[in-house]
């Protein structure tokens, strides 16, 4: 109230016979405050911050993956994935190491163990103010034990958006060469 009466006084004292400009200034100041206040609202994070390596497991012809469990090496107390549904092709998101440049998994396929080493580099990247940082990896190479036939890279860049890949896409595909008589 004090402000507005002062304001009117200023307008009159200015002696300007065309004060139409002035009467906009105060309402606009109020509008401005409203705009700024609405901008300062707390923002929420709507983006993914979880980075996973999207991995597809495919068995060779005439064999199937009846059961699959994936264990993180040195984290043997908890298996990462356990799955016993039979299928030829399976697709899983794998977490990669933050501290080290390699990540090792033990893959139990149809009851027998194989190891898969994944070599990578990592860089933390800012997603947004609300979401913070997430790791971004670049795949450098693999080593694996004998029942794994080959590993094919379709996308070497692994980031928080990798999880959004459509069902028919993946970062890597692991081909198994399972003995036909495993069953």
């Amino acid at each position: 109230m004090l402000v507005s009466s002062q304001f009117v006084y200023i307008c009159q004292a200015s002696g300007n016979p065309y004060p139409d400009m002035k009467k906009y200034i105060l309402p606009l100041l109020v509008a401005f405050m409203a705009i700024v206040a609405s901008c300062s609202e707390e923002e929420r994070c709507y983006d993914s911050t979880d980075t996973y390596l999207i991995t597809r497991f495919i068995a060779s012809d005439s064999t199937t993956i009846d059961s699959l469990s994936i264990w993180g090496v040195a984290k043997n107390d908890t298996g990462w994935v356990r799955d016993t549904l039979p299928s030829i092709s399976k697709r899983y998101p794998l977490p990669l190491s933050l501290e080290h440049d390699s990540t090792a998994f033990v893959l139990f396929v149809n009851g027998e163990a194989d190891t898969l080493y994944i070599y990578h580099t990592m860089q933390m990247k800012l997603i947004s103010e609300a979401c913070g940082f997430a790791p971004n990896y670049e795949l450098k190479g693999f080593s694996y034990s004998s029942r794994i036939d080959s590993v094919n890279i379709s996308d070497p860049k692994v980031g928080p958006t990798s999880i959004d890949k459509p069902d028919n896409e993946e970062n890597i595909t692991v081909y198994f060469n399972l003995p036909a008589n495993t069953q």
């Binding site: 002062q6 006084y9 200023i10 307008c11 004292a13 200015s14 002696g15 300007n16 016979p17 065309y18 400009m21 002035k22 906009y24 200034i25 606009l28 100041l29 401005f32 405050m33 705009i35 700024v36 206040a37 901008c39 300062s40 609202e41 707390e42 979880d50 980075t51 993180g72 984290k75 990462w80 977490p95 990669l96 190491s97 933050l98 501290e99 990540t103 860089q123 933390m124 990247k125 800012l126 947004s128 103010e129 913070g132 940082f133 997430a134 790791p135």
Partner: protein, 268 residues
């Protein structure tokens, strides 16, 4: 410091208005005063208190009349940001400048009419540093803590400006402007693209906008009896442009000026 500046502005406002009334009684002659106008953007101080992140800054603005209707403008400022979030702590600090011009789209109605409604453009440049500490992340393999080292950054951008400046009493102006900005180029930091650039504002929005509200003082370096000639506009013409010779604009018109502002034509 910021608060003293505010107090000074308020004191100037309250003190000078009665003085002005006295001055006018003595001096009946009307002159048009011109000179560079300097001011301070008050909205920068307000944003310190209204934003969630700890953000501080100041901005000075200055313009200079050219042919009455053009106002080449220089704006300089500083901004600092200290943003402590739950999983990182981001700091940024820098200076910026904007160079451009405003153009008054109103016509002056009398010699002492200095009110503006303007459109303008700016080129902006900012030089700043940013860094992040306490960057935390955890997944299946454990917790990870790192920091992003300090880095020198540059940004270039453009702005479209629309605003008003009103002379609230002699040589003092209040004004606001609304800005739409577009980033032209900025230094790429692979780990962190700046979400607030000094002088530009938030970068992670579709259409970066800004609002500023300032108080200005025109240094009355010279005075004239000549009303600036309005620039010829292509296309839309004032209705009375054909009937009123330009020389008539120079006269001090005392009894309402609606006619100059697209009022009724004489013939009807």
């Amino acid at each position: 410091m910021r608060k003293t500046l505010l107090y000074i502005s308020i004191c100037l406002l309250t003190l000078s208005s009665p003085l002005k009334g006295l001055a006018q009684e003595k001096q009946n002659e009307v002159w048009r005063y011109e000179g560079p106008r300097i001011g301070v953007d008050l909205s920068r101080f307000a944003s310190t208190y209204l934003q969630s992140a700890d953000r501080w800054g100041w901005e000075l603005q200055g313009d200079f009349p050219v042919k009455g209707y053009w106002f080449p403008t220089l704006e300089v400022g500083m901004m600092g940001l200290d943003d402590r979030q739950s999983n990182f702590h981001h700091r940024a600090n820098g200076v910026y400048g904007r160079l451009g011009t405003d153009f008054n789209i109103l016509r002056y109605r009398s010699l002492d009419d200095g009110d503006l409604v303007f459109v303008g453009m700016r080129y902006g440049y900012s030089r700043f540093t940013h860094q992040a500490d306490d960057v935390q992340y955890s997944n299946f393999w454990g917790n990870y803590n790192t920091s992003i080292p300090k880095r020198n950054m540059n940004a270039h951008w453009g702005e479209f400006v629309f605003g008003m400046k009103g002379e609230i009493f002699k040589n003092f102006f209040l004004g606001w402007s609304l800005r739409v900005k577009f980033m032209v180029s900025e230094t790429k930091d692979p780990s962190m693209s700046p979400y607030i650039v000094p002088g530009f504002g938030k970068t992670n929005v579709d259409v970066p906008m800004d609002f500023s509200y300032g108080i200005y003082y025109r240094i009355p370096l010279w005075r004239t009896k000549k009303l600036p000639k309005a620039p010829k506009m292509e296309g839309a013409k004032h209705i009375d442009e054909s009937t009123t010779p330009d020389s008539q604009n120079n006269q001090q018109n005392s009894n309402g000026i609606g006619n100059l502002r697209g009022g009724q034509s004489q013939e009807f």
